[in-house]
Symmetry: C2
Subunit: 341 residues, 2 copies
């Protein structure tokens, strides 16, 4: 049986559309919380293949999603470049901030694949356990988004520290982005070699960039990653997610060399039909808060997304990660609505 | 001598373009900080006409900006509706959050113009002191943005509490927006009657809304405010600022009935030329962080904005408020660049 998501990434229309949810392996699931407690820290869970494989499989087992996505975090890349990352409860990730070019010249420059070996092992374990109709997705962060965390040390409103860094030292930022392009590409290649069927590049903070910088630090790096990956893994399928791109998404479609584009929930859907789905398969774009609320609000939010995109190559998903407070019955309600059963 | 900004709002091209900066009366100015210390709390400053007029005039005096903008805050509207607002140092505004429809049914429903009388007096004082070539701007927050603070009690990432409220109780949110439309319109009318030459509606959090809600809670309310204001003050000029609107800005241009649109720094400038400036005068869109950084980064950021928009009706401004850490010499550098002197 064909993997429905790979079909769509190859521009084949599937009806009903395949479905998965960003951050589907996570805190809204009691079986995830049980494993999380057992594992210790967040990174302990990420780097323990048996447990990471188990939480990757949990949502597929429970909901019958059409994709499993590797349980990991975009910040394992700076971690494997030598910038220590810690996850504290309730605070999110913390890194030692990089304040200037000297700061990242101390980094390794090349990814420590030994450190990432447990992640590749997780992919192998998931692949063995997964029904062949289900697509296994790997992922990395977009270089710009990863850089924002490396520079600020954490998430901030509008990621001002990285934007300031970029205006103050354009060449320095270019150098950091170059390091991340190479690291991300070789990381994705290894994920594909370990068994991932396709990969997604999460550029969560693309939307704070001015147009010149959006081209330079989001579109161009994504294109270079995509080309590098396809040179080593011919035919590899890549989904891009430039969250908050707004009007710049049209240039992303033209320039980023991805096979499909994941849409946030804010985009004008007619614009997305004309300027995105007319050229590439799309994924998304349900507001994660509609899934929190449920009821008729959820039904109509699902209907609007399906009406806009389900007539073409489309993967149903959220416009951002699922919220930890999402009730499980709402996910079930959404699946029935999408699958018409 | 004509007010250059009113000329532009009437679709007249002025070269060089007039300039002012959002939040130009503020903490980056030592003369502001001196008055702020003297005044006590932030709202004490807003509600003391002599001091509020003085800080409104300070940046015009120092830099020769083409507009003075009333020194106040968008949250005086909920304050005058009976929801107490406090400003704590370093934390921003705090309100008692409104959790459900019962919460805002306790509000007054009509604006207490007596409470706002000092603001109208500030406008009269500024008007007397201002050179007749300088435009005096009043303002209010967009109903959606004000509602997000009323519901969450403070600013939050993505303003999730208000978005959840809107999905849970659509009619309740409509009712709150209706109250804010009426209050904002009558507040702007009084500002214009007191001497404001034009007004701006700041919808700072427009960008987090999904398209249906963007139409319902940003575009429609703005249109209703604009029509109400023009019924009472014929010919009143209104600038709209739907920050983060992205692809939805084209619908805003068509539907919000504003005279000009202020652009954030993230918009694709070619899109803005074709879909915004082709129909209405525009204002903006320098990244406030370029002004923090200065130097050649600032020069080229200014040049890009001028190249994109200065050939048509345009008011030079930032894409969001000026940052408190902005060095004054950078503002001077920017002004020389814009005015070509």
């Amino acid at each position: 049986m064909n993997k429905s998501i790979l079909d769509v990434l190859g521009r084949v229309h599937r009806s009903p559309p395949p479905v998965w949810l960003m951050r589907q392996a996570g805190r809204y699931l009691p079986e995830y919380r049980a494993i999380r407690e057992k594992a210790g820290g967040f990174l302990d869970l990420v780097f323990t293949p048996e447990l990471a494989a188990e939480v990757t499989l949990q949502p597929v087992r429970r909901f019958g999603f059409d994709a499993a996505i590797l349980f990991s975090d975009i910040l394992v890349v700076p971690h494997a470049l030598g910038q220590t990352v810690t996850f504290s409860v309730g605070e999110g990730p913390l890194l030692e901030p990089i304040e200037d070019r000297v700061g990242f010249e101390r980094l390794a420059g090349e990814l420590d694949h030994g450190m990432l070996a447990p992640i590749y092992q997780t992919i192998r374990l998931v692949k063995q356990a997964l029904d062949p109709s289900v697509t296994l997705l790997g992922f990395c962060g977009g270089p710009w988004t990863v850089a924002t965390y490396m520079i600020a040390g954490r998430g901030t409103a509008d990621q001002a520290p990285a934007r300031l860094f970029g205006y103050r030292d354009r060449v320095g930022m270019d150098t950091l982005i170059d390091v991340l392009v190479d690291a991300s590409a070789s990381y994705l290649v290894r994920q594909l070699q370990a068994g991932a069927d396709a990969v997604q590049i999460f550029d969560t903070w693309a939307g704070v960039l001015a147009p010149e910088e959006f081209g330079r630090w989001c579109i161009e790096p994504t294109r270079r990653i995509a080309e590098h990956v396809r040179r080593q893994v011919p035919g590899a399928k890549i989904i891009g997610f430039p969250r908050g791109a707004g009007t710049m998404i049209a240039r992303y479609v033209d320039g980023a060399a991805v096979d499909a584009v994941s849409l946030d929930w804010m985009i004008d859907r007619r614009f997305a039909q004309d300027r995105v789905q007319a050229r590439l398969p799309v994924q998304g774009n349900l507001d994660p808060l509609a899934l929190v609320v449920g009821g008729t609000a959820l039904d109509s939010a699902v209907d609007v997304v399906l009406e806009a995109f389900a007539a073409g190559p489309f993967i149903f998903n959220l416009g951002h990660g699922i919220m930890p407070e999402t009730p499980i019955p709402h996910v079930e309600q959404m699946l029935r609505r999408v699958r018409g059963c």
